[in-house]
Symmetry: C2
Subunit: 313 residues, 2 copies
């Protein structure tokens, strides 16, 4: 674990310790691909990911593939209602203040189809290239964001939570979101703050025990303060990831993001897959609490993904 | 009151009575201007308001006027914090789950500047023309929709509430919203369902006593059911009123509208002015409960507005 501390022995990504917030610089690379590496992204895409902290790509999947994934998403929602027993109830997260299904976690471990998606070379290939390493799935989930009642996801850097609560040492992970429904300006699309990934907001306050049980519904600790967000926003603005079903957004583990509520009738359903570098596997949580359960943060197996090619059917 | 009932003696806009929802046709005109009436709108604007149920207009006010109004909005927020006593505490509505200021009601009665705005011929002139009558202010408010913590306004037809809870007989009223900050796709802009004003959704359930105390923060009764909203949305889609500060939206009292939350740092502050035809003044509430207080629904004075011309300064 000493390799992740700086020369003074201090964790460069310390958080939830001080009583006032602080913004510090990122000490890790954003793109780990080495010059000359062959990869699935253009030079312009690389440049954009490096400077903005995210990348939007259309048309990676065809309409039939997205239909197949959407049908599986619907099937899993019904499975939750007792049609069968394949889903671990602990992995089901409900909306705050309602009984609507918000998310299912660990879908790569519970659905053969989403396991196949996670290994798809179109996605895993991008992750391997950007992270310059073999990768495994640190976390996966379906976000249903149902129409009418979908609540917001407040601003957060995933990395802050993964570092403090899960023990992810460094910023060498990324998320890929695959839209399974149309994302419009009005159904609570993903919002990202361009450039925010190059700075790290140390949050104030402590982490309560078993925080994840509440935080997966509504985050209240480890959230950035308004002043820091105002500063990131003043520098980078807000980008909104709208587009057709099938569009993907690749974003760095430290890019500040969130989404507003969705009162529109149109659900905003997405698959989230988090790829971590196998060199960046989890250690003891830096917040010094018990780690979160396996379905939220993979600790037991770091076997690298073997990318699979071909259509999803 | 008999004039507002149909031939069978039934209230055509009955609501919150049945246990299943119903969508019925509007029995009132949308535009009351008579052929040959001179007015401030073009033929195209009239046509759009009639068919869509709303109209967006830029550049009615200059930048200096908007600055003046915004400064007054900020001053009133500070006044709330005890700097003076000009604001009736009952008219202050807080965000659900926080102490942030959501709205101030009856601002035309509490601020000379907003009284002046309500009488401005650029606004009152449009209301008089569309409603074909003298008008008065039925309700007014500032919506702060603060950054970070602004919660959604769920879908509603204003008229349903005004009819059932306030005793507004007919659909002969309209709202004008004046944006005092930039409205973007990401700070919870006003959303409207085009064409929804021509149908009336009878809501299910009853109205609790003193419902307004809760409903101004978060509406839970008199809300349209998901099935009816789905139907209106399938036919009309959703229009989002984004634009610069100073832009106004004029919308019919029965246009289905709402807005999502605002986690962005940018507040979405608006003035809402509701103009009612003097021929449509309030009677006993159709929901047969005690009427809501004066600051939410004007009952004591129906004196017509005398439009005032000139710049606001």
């Amino acid at each position: 674990m000493s390799a992740v501390l700086d020369h003074s022995g201090r964790d460069p990504y310390e958080s939830r310790v001080a009583s006032t917030p602080e913004i510090v610089g990122r000490v890790d690379p954003v793109v780990y691909a080495r010059a000359g590496d062959k990869g699935p992204l253009t030079r312009e895409q690389l440049r954009q990911y490096e400077s903005q902290g995210f990348l939007e790509i259309d048309n990676l999947f065809d309409a039939g593939e997205i239909e197949t994934l959407l049908a599986e998403l619907d099937r899993l929602r019904r499975a939750r209602d007792g049609l069968d027993r394949e889903i671990d109830p602990e992995t089901l997260i409900l909306e705050p203040h309602s009984r609507e299904l918000r998310s299912i976690f660990a879908i790569h471990a519970q659905s053969a189809l989403f396991a196949r998606l996670a290994s798809d070379e179109r996605l895993a290939g991008i992750a391997r290239y950007l992270l310059g390493d073999e990768v495994y799935i640190h976390q996966s989930r379906l976000n249903y964001k149902p129409g009418f009642f979908g609540k917001e996801f407040y601003w957060h850097s995933d990395f802050e939570t993964w570092h403090i609560e899960d023990g992810m040492p460094r910023m060498r992970a990324l998320s890929i979101s695959i839209a399974l429904t149309r994302n419009t300006s009005y159904n609570g699309p993903l919002m990202l703050i361009p450039g925010s990934h190059k700075r790290y907001v140390r949050c104030v306050g402590e982490t309560p025990d078993d925080h994840y049980k509440q935080s997966l519904r509504k985050q209240e600790y480890g959230v950035p303060d308004p002043g820091s967000l105002q500063q990131l926003y003043a520098d980078g603005g807000i980008a909104t990831a709208t587009g057709p079903a099938g569009k993907i957004v690749v974003f760095d583990c430290n890019t500040m993001h969130g989404s507003n509520s969705n009162i529109s009738p149109l659900p905003r359903s997405n698959v989230f897959l988090v790829y971590n570098s196998v060199s960046n596997r989890l250690v003891t949580p830096f917040g010094k609490k018990a780690p979160r359960p396996e379905f939220v943060a993979t600790r037991k197996t770091f076997a690298p993904i073997a990318p699979v090619s071909g259509r999803i059917a």
